[in-house]
Symmetry: C2
Subunit: 466 residues, 2 copies
């Protein structure tokens, strides 16, 4: 009987693949770039349409000051069945720099067993994959799911979900569930699936400096007029030194060190050093992230260390050739990645105090995005079930990652709503999220979709004792 | 007789004004932006046409690897008359940022007694003014000039005249003259004309850093991948501290201090502090360029101090909102202003050595422009004659400025060709050179054109003893 269901799942996923790719192509063709506010509502409408086509009831919910959230539901015929919440997002990162894309970023294109488009992995491909999983489980169960479904897709994840928290606070009862399936997941270099049990937080700021009302001739003003670009460079220099130490007083104090269990889990994972070197064209010798950062220490540093990244710099003349101008304005975008229990609001306050006390009260700070760090117990039954059910699809248990380097609104689901979370998915280490030529492999799409279906099929037994 | 000639000059300049403005409008309508290589040859052709209309023989001369130079000549009927070389340039700075212009930058527009356009002062308005001066002197002298004319207009001054030196070396005999009229000049805040006896040199570099082959997700790479923007910020931080001291070893050693005569000349000049504060919207209290920089020290610092200006910064995401990217490339444009006897080639070498020894051998340096600093003896008879003849037009002698903060290829004329140089002109302190809303006042155009005509009329007597 169980075997039979698994066979049905495999058959439905394979049969449904072409239609799922057609859905994904339509979804990728609507950019939905949240950083630019580009085509978000049309993207949301299509997600609702795809949910309805998969048998859910779906509506667009108003998110004050933000693009709409898509919310779909599907009730099981078993009234006291557990409820699963899917959290996804329909927005994507900007496609720039456009000239580095091999094919059009918003046209789903197949090459070498892969599908390319902005958002194909992060996160539109997961929306279509999850819907196909639900269709497969329903067919395997004779038409009715053994769990209730809540499916949320927001439109601002790539700009830090600025309005999701208030939306969740207001709709906590609507959204709360027994388990949460996270928006994305992937396999590792060896094709082994990986489950994520946490995300770093983020505090993303725009620093800007305005020294006068207009740019000046650098020969006339160079000796006597203030230069916004220099002010910004000097201010940035007080934030982190070239040994990668963040210099803001107290910044590291709330940062929890990795536990022995965390290090045990990290140690069991394959290393990504060689892959990163190859992917980013780095020298094969020498450690990344510092002279002694390799092996387990590399893995620890990559996710358990607070970071401060300059994401963008802009000032004065950036065109070709020489323009002898003294800029009156300069801007930097910076992001802090936070580990438990660092708090983005506290980081904001400490940054302001540090710039003030370093003589840079003229540097303006605008917070563009913030997320608290989040953790899920890696030994929670939901996580363990997700690891086990991977074996039926991938022939191996999934690896468990205690926390990832990236950020997302996970705390709202794990912390505020108090749900266990796990993350089967369809990406791989070459997905190039946020970069040109973002892609997923067809084989991962099929396997990840089946894995989720198996996990969902077995999910009710976790809650049978209740 | 002399009075009569002066009356003719005034009448011809006033009568010729409208036609001169029409010529200037045509010239401003062809951008000629050397930084972008935009419409330089059409601009040169029009300059040659305008020279011919003023009675000169004019041709475009080939400048290897650069846009053509325009070269015009007009022989006096007096064979042993002295020769005057006019040095001008037909290229302009980019008009960006475009949204800050009140009217179209490449359309000559009149408002409030002023003419606005990119290049209206620097330097196209001087080309048309000088041609009108020549017409006036010729008419005052009954049809033939009392001096021979050589008129050079190059097309790369705004990018540092990279090919002018080689052109002058090759055409030294063609270009050499007894006196040189510099490309531009202006009156001060009180409407008093100012003559310039030197220019700072310049060494303009693009610094760039490439840390990997593509941008990365800042959450994934923040702890372990190198960040080009940080590398650049740290490298820049080693070049100048927030007290405006240039930190490259030996940088100040060849810099000659101002002489007592220089300080005497500076002291006689009106201060520009209040004007700069007003023009750039700066606070009315507090000194510019450092706590004790005011009065004579302000004047000294503005022109006799070596500078290092960041002219541009570029890296990563510069659009709206938050993009969580770790940039693989970062670029800065920087310019050093040099005083005698600093040498741009030596600065280049010292910059490379300093970055290498500071741990930044990964920062690439590209020299985009360089000029040697230049001086002319402020007591040379040509300069004194220019100061005296101002009185007939402005009712006051001109002030003499020992050196200006800006740079230009003056050394090639004063040093290499060994000519005295002076600089009557049509600009004023509100001209906004290189900035949006560049403009000149109509009244300055008329006075500056007459001043040059008077100077040229009296010039032969300097050489009569020969």
């Amino acid at each position: 009987m169980t075997t039979n269901k698994h066979e049905i799942i495999q058959a439905v996923v394979e049969r449904g693949f072409d239609a799922s790719m057609s859905d994904l192509a339509r979804l990728c063709a609507i950019p939905g770039v949240s950083a630019k506010g580009e085509s978000l509502e049309p993207c949301a409408e299509l997600v609702a349409e795809l949910m309805r086509a998969a048998g859910l009831e779906a509506d667009l919910l108003d998110v004050p000051d933000g693009p709409p959230a898509v919310f779909g539901t599907l009730r099981s015929s078993i009234e006291d069945a557990p409820t699963v919440l899917f959290y996804n997002h329909y927005d994507v990162q900007p496609a720039e720099p456009l000239h580095l894309w091999t094919s059009e970023p918003f046209t789903l294109t197949f090459r070498d067993g892969k599908a390319f488009a902005r958002g194909v992995g992060d996160d539109k491909g997961h929306i279509t994959s999850r819907l196909l999983s639900l269709i497969a489980v329903r067919q395997a169960c004779g038409g009715s799911l053994p769990f209730h479904v809540k499916f949320l897709a927001e439109g601002e994840e790539e700009v830090g979900s600025p309005h999701l928290g208030a939306f969740i606070e207001k709709n906590a009862d609507l959204l709360r569930a027994d388990a949460c399936i996270w928006e994305e997941g992937n396999v590792d270099d060896d094709g082994k699936p990986v489950l994520y049990c946490g995300m770093r937080g983020i505090a993303y700021f725009e620093l800007s400096c305005t020294t006068s009302t207009m740019d000046a001739h650098s020969g006339v003003g160079g000796s006597v007029l203030p230069n916004a670009a220099w002010r910004l460079v000097w201010a940035l220099g007080t934030l982190k030194n070239s040994s990668e130490q963040i210099l803001i007083p107290g910044h590291y104090a709330p940062a929890k060190l990795a536990s022995l269990r965390d290090l045990e889990l990290l140690d069991a994972l394959p290393g990504s050093e060689a892959f990163l070197r190859q992917q980013f064209g780095l020298a094969p010798d020498g450690a990344l992230g510092g002279a002694r950062t390799t092996g387990l220490e590399f893995k620890r540093r990559a996710v358990f260390e607070p970071t401060l990244t300059i994401c963008g710099l802009e000032s004065g003349w950036q065109g070709a050739g020489a323009k002898t101008v003294l800029p009156c304005k300069a801007t930097a975008k910076i992001d802090f990645r936070l580990v438990p229990d660092q708090d983005p609001d506290e980081v904001h306050k400490a940054l302001r105090a540090h710039l003030d006390s370093s003589g840079f009260s003229d540097i303006e700070i605008k917070c563009l995005s913030s997320q608290k760090p989040a953790r899920v117990d890696p030994d929670h039954p939901l996580v363990q079930l997700a690891a086990e059910t991977a074996e039926m699809v991938y022939g191996t248990r999934a690896d468990i990652v205690p926390i990832v380097g990236g950020s997302g609104p996970m705390w709202w689901f794990s912390g505020f709503l108090g749900m266990p979370i796990t993350s089967p998915g369809v990406e791989y280490p070459g997905t190039r999220q946020h970069a040109p030529d973002e892609n997923i492999r067809i084989s991962d799409y099929l396997l990840g979709t089946r894995h989720l279906a198996h996990l969902l099929l077995d999910l009710p037994r976790l809650y049978a004792a209740n």
